[in-house]
Amino acid sequence: MSVQQQPSGQSSRSFASRAADAMVDANLQTALNRLSTGFATRRATAIAAVPEFEALKADAQAIKNHVLDNLDHYLERFEAEVIARGGSVHWCPDAESARQTVLAICQAAGARTVTKGKSMVAEEIALNPFLEANGIEPVETDLGEYLIQIAKEPPSHIIGPALHMTRDTVEGLFRSHHPSLDPARDLTQPETLVAEARQMLRPRYFAADVGITGANFLVAETGSTVIVTNEGNGDLTQSLPRVHVVLSSIEKIVPGHEDAATLLRVLARSATGQDMSVYTTFSCGPRRPGDADGPDAFHVVLVDNGRSAMLGTEFQEMLRCIKCGACMNHCPVYGAIGGHAYDAVYMGPMGAVLTPQIEGLFGHTDLPAASTFCGRCAEVCPMGIPLPDLMRRWREKSFAAGWSPTAERWGLGLWSALARRPWAYRLVARVAAAVLKRLGSKGIARLPLTAGWTAGRDMPAPAGRTFSDLWAEQRRG
């Protein structure tokens, strides 16, 4: 992929042409073919081993529903607990205020480099280019995020940002970006690639002035922020620098540690098929007096950026999302085209619902349309989010606003006009049936306006008469 990082939704090319390119990108297709044997298989195995999984899901959904109904209360409680432990909370209505807040914290700390744990909210607010433009170097430490940072690409998956890359792509990246790399070194195996990244990033952790992480959960009870990783990069990021900044959207709140325990039981199983991710870390406030290590300062940057506007609407259910990625791991459309074709920070079924909310529907009308409505995403969603229903809501809004494609609008308009006039419907159907019969009685290989269908298959042999006529005849006979 040679996609340059740019604000999402601003590609000059259409979704259809990006998708078409993706489907003939052999490297990408190799990477995507691993989805069914990778995350999806491991998820099924992990869930089958826990007979109580449906009860855990129901509990998890009830917890989030309760939080959303009382979100203001739990946010204030969370804030009070962070402050009581010596930390600061910064409220940011939009992406711009979030970027400015992070920058101000970095500048106050005199930061030159910041290490970053994986954060989709940081992607959402386009933090890296903004820090760079202000003279601060962000260093991504999650392996997948590091790979897309040096490749100058956006993430193609919410939990596996470099899922579109094969090991050969990674080797090529390291050979062109790591100047000290011995040309003779064997980098054909994933193990050696991981070792190379570990070695390159190790000094960066110790040199960074500020560490920025995301949050999987915010615990109101104690003002704790929670990160879940397998690599340990988030922990090195938040424990070695002088300042720890947590970047989180407001809906990540859970009431107590017991609630977090329940959500953790569904998160890793749904995401990577692990019972628990390797490192789950609860952090609150800066290091305490006498502590052997830890940051001197602790900041939580709470980002709204469209979430509050979903509350109380048909899209509120989307705020239960815990960003496990199961919906995209099981989506036939994502599986065919990968994440970049969506041209959005959040991709796949959850992205098709979330992106129009965060970035506006205009320019993203293709996303909720990029679905076969097979329903697999809703089936595997641990939080019971009716993703196809919510995509349909966006389609309706898009149609109402007049932003759907002209051919679709014409077609639907014509159908609606006929459907409301039974005599006209019957007349047109009879004419069409007769015409089709004349075109071919053994099947139709080519038909105007339907090349997309007939390119791969024939139309069945036409009956020559409409269903209504045959039905009427049968009833008489």
Binding site: W91, E132, N134, L201, G232
Partner: protein, 244 residues
């Protein structure tokens, strides 16, 4: 980074004005309340939510989180996530077990202890060739030893905490991480460990950092294949000992 984007002269960016903080806070909370169609919760309702929170109500706990034999359940779960589990007869055996295990890995006989007096008090003199130092996770530390505060049998998870006698960085910087887990600190489920920690820490609960560690570091970022040793320890060895 070799190919970092050209960094231009920093554009002067105005820091948020002092008034923007409270104003933004009011904006976000106001938007949330407007969307919910109400003002702040009535005092009684808010106190009710806080009272519920203080009861630490538990949700569904899977049967595997209620094992009878916690030692066997923990060891099995931890082995399942690629941690090595060694069963020792007593804490006094720790120095010999570590020296032998390091030798089996062809590693130098040296390790760094978290600043816990209980670790310093182990009979290190029984293995005089083992170079033992105390401290945090600074560059170059290859091997670390910590004492777990709890262990969760449901998932084979170690509960490690920060504090004056603990080191969070030592849990992540070394290549090889040894952790002592006394049987008396085993819990069935994470909820049991929360109760244990609340009880032990009192008003200081929770410590700055609670690390739940389930196996050694790994990544699935290259071709969705789990590769061990991403950024944290490549190897995790758990020394299970009887006692508290």
């Amino acid at each position: 980074m070799a190919d970092k984007s050209p960094i231009s002269t920093p554009a002067p960016t105005p820091a948020p004005t002092p008034s923007s903080g409270p104003a933004n806070r009011a904006r976000v909370l106001g938007a949330v309340r407007a969307a919910l169609g109400r003002g702040p919760l009535p005092t009684g309702r808010a106190q009710g939510l806080d009272a519920t929170l203080a009861r630490h109500q538990r949700h569904t706990i899977p049967a595997r989180g209620r094992a009878d034999d916690l030692v066997a359940a923990f060891a099995s779960a931890a082995s399942g996530v690629a941690a090595e589990v060694l069963h020792l007869a007593s804490l006094d055996e720790v120095p010999a077990a570590l020296a032998d295990h390091l030798a089996s890995l062809n590693l130098p006989p040296a390790l760094r202890l978290a600043p816990d007096p209980a670790l310093a008090a182990l009979p290190w003199h029984t293995r005089p060739l083992l170079a033992v130092e105390v401290g945090t996770g600074v560059p170059g530390v290859q091997v670390g030893l910590a004492l777990a505060e709890a262990g969760v049998a449901e998932t084979g998870t170690l509960v490690l905490t920060s504090g004056a006698e603990r080191s969070t960085t030592l849990n992540f910087v070394p290549d090889v991480q040894y952790v002592i887990l006394p049987h008396g600190r085993l819990d069935g489920a994470l909820e049991d460990a929360w109760a244990r920690l609340r009880n032990a820490h009192g008003a200081a609960w929770p410590p700055r950092t609670v690390n739940l560690v389930t196996g050694p570091s790994r990544t699935g970022d290259i071709e969705q294949t789990m590769i061990m040793g991403a950024h944290g320890p490549r190897r995790l060895v758990i020394l299970m000992v009887p006692g508290a």
